[in-house]
């Protein structure tokens, strides 16, 4: 059967529900974390962002309304709209209204998400932010109601999934040697940004299994993506392999909504016929999309193909960039993950004391939600929820001292000294009621315990102190580089 003869009503319905769930998660993260991270009194100041930002930096409501009230309003509006999308709101409207209502709903979600991503600086600098925006942009043109989606838009989702997976495969082959000598997974589970409950167990699987995992990774990321464009059932088999691969990553690490979003994109490579054959559902016989939506879809296709020039050139270049956008709206981007694998894990432990001249035993540690600190603490499952501060701590810990891009660490320490409840809310446990007299940040080298060590101590980690990241201070100031660098 030719691809335009396949039905995609059910594909669209599932894809939209999945994407709405991810938007819901993203806006809940914004509602709970944006203000302490990048709000009026955040680790990055929203007002200084608004003063410096230009339209070419990407559109954001917060360029015009740099206030915590606007942040809360936008975030909770996003939560509400995501729920409407999740519950398939436009499908309950009369047929003539369903498509325009759906377009308006998904456009609002996209616009609100843009506002957070473009204003969030370093804390929103992850590949899956622009990937969510690109996926969300395409969703505007999927339509809703009894008519089917434009086939061109469904294919653009396959094109997005292809760049997502193939880009990740190429960056690995070109990047770290451990991907070529098949040893990458000897390190990955232990040194990844935020291990989860499955990571310790995956780390202790056999060497042979780790070698096979890397070979499997190369096949799934470099060969399988081409099959997204093959006839059925090969395209669906490729989709299932992609979903299985992402499922394994979800079982063994916390990668925000990256894996879930890739699974949502993979829905697009199948068809109603295949879904109805394997799921206990039947796809309705949908009429073609309205003419105006098909015309819009053709225009969007031309736009995406034109904007794909730079991402494709980047993918084919030996100097491939891992995650990058090439337009201020993040419409077509280039993606990749783990081009290099860290071989040793470092972690930061923030401590405070109320003593003016503290002894070693006078310090009490702050506890983070996902960033490993206490060796006895079992790594938790957080994804698809995204702990933005904890992820940045992983990057920060790679250096022995804060560099230019870690100046936010000094602001974090100031806020902790002030007992700022909004920033403290980002942490799991705060050992001081009104802020300590002094703070310091210690840097440790971590490794997973062996099964024998864990049986004996119950610990998940063994750690060794390697130095002071920020020495004890009661006045961290703006840091050696003079303050904020978004």
């Amino acid at each position: 059967m030719l691809p335009w003869e396949e039905g995609y009503w059910l594909v669209r319905f599932l894809l939209q529900r999945g994407l709405a769930a991810i938007y819901l998660c993203a806006f809940l993260v914004a509602a709970t974390q944006f203000r302490p991270l990048a709000g009026e009194n955040g680790l990055f100041s929203l007002r200084s962002y608004a003063e410096r930002a230009s339209v070419t930096d990407g559109p954001s409501l917060f360029q015009f309304f740099p206030s915590d009230r606007a942040v809360a309003l936008a975030a909770w509006a996003g939560v509400g709209l995501s729920l409407v999308a999740l519950l398939a709101g436009p499908y309950f409207l009369p047929p003539d209204l369903a498509v325009p209502a759906s377009m308006g709903l998904w456009f609002l979600l996209w616009g609100l998400c843009q506002s957070f991503v473009n204003a969030g600086g370093l804390f929103y600098g992850y590949g899956w932010e622009s990937m969510l925006l690109e996926t969300g942009f395409l969703a505007v043109f999927l339509g809703a109601g009894p008519t089917g989606p434009p086939v061109l838009i469904v294919w653009l989702f396959s094109w997005l999934l292809f760049r997502n997976m193939f880009g990740a495969g190429l960056i690995k082959m070109r990047g770290d040697r451990c991907w070529r000598d098949l040893t990458a997974m000897d390190f990955h589970y232990e040194t990844q940004p935020m291990p989860n409950p499955g990571s310790w167990f995956a780390h202790h699987l056999s060497e042979r299994f780790h070698r096979l995992e890397v070979v499997g990774n190369h096949v799934v990321e470099l060969a399988v993506p081409f099959l997204y464009f093959a006839p059925e059932p090969y395209a669906s088999v490729a989709g299932v392999l992609t979903v299985g691969f992402q499922g394994w990553l979800m079982l063994t690490g916390n990668f925000s909504w990256l894996n879930a979003l890739t699974i949502v994109q993979a829905i697009a490579v199948t068809s109603d016929r295949t879904l109805a054959a394997v799921l206990p559902v039947s796809a309705p016989a949908a009429a073609p999309a309205p003419l105006y939506l098909q015309v819009l879809a053709a225009g969007v296709t031309l736009l995406v193909l034109a904007l794909s020039y730079y991402p494709v050139t980047n993918m084919l270049s030996p100097n491939q960039r891992m995650n990058a956008g090439f337009d201020p709206f993040h419409i077509v981007n280039t993606y990749g993950a783990f081009g290099s694998i860290t071989k040793e894990r470092y972690g930061l432990v923030v401590e405070g004391t109320n003593q003016e001249h503290p002894e070693e035993g006078d310090w009490a540690a702050y506890s983070f939600k996902g960033h490993p600190d206490d060796p006895s603490k079992r790594p938790r499952q957080w994804a698809p929820y995204h702990l933005r501060l904890d992820w940045q701590l992983w990057f920060a810990a790679m250096r022995p001292r804060p560099g230019r891009r870690q100046q936010w660490v000094f602001t974090l320490l100031e806020r902790l000294l002030d007992g700022d409840s909004s920033v403290e809310g980002l942490l799991a446990d705060v050992p001081f009621d009104d802020g300590p007299e002094k703070v310091r940040v210690l840097r440790y080298r971590y490794r997973f315990t062996t099964p024998e060590e864990r049986a004996e101590s119950g610990d998940w980690w063994v750690r060794e102190r390697v130095g002071a990241y920020v020495p004890a201070t009661s006045n961290p100031g703006p840091g050696p580089f003079g303050g904020e660098l978004r």
């Binding site: 082959m173 098949l182 470099l222 060969a223 993506p225 081409f226 099959l227 006839p231």
Partner: protein, 55 residues
Amino acid sequence: MTERFVQAIVVGGIALVAGLWAVELGSGAAWWGGVGLVVMGVLGFAWGIHSELSV
């Protein structure tokens, strides 16, 4: 200039997809041509990936 392994994988991928469509839609010579392209595509993948491994 794109590396040889990338060229092999991309050409192999295009050959594979074209071959599968030819097998799906064609008959006679087109069908056999499709089978040939599928084989070429798989070999392209295998060479492209294997050429970069150092084990």
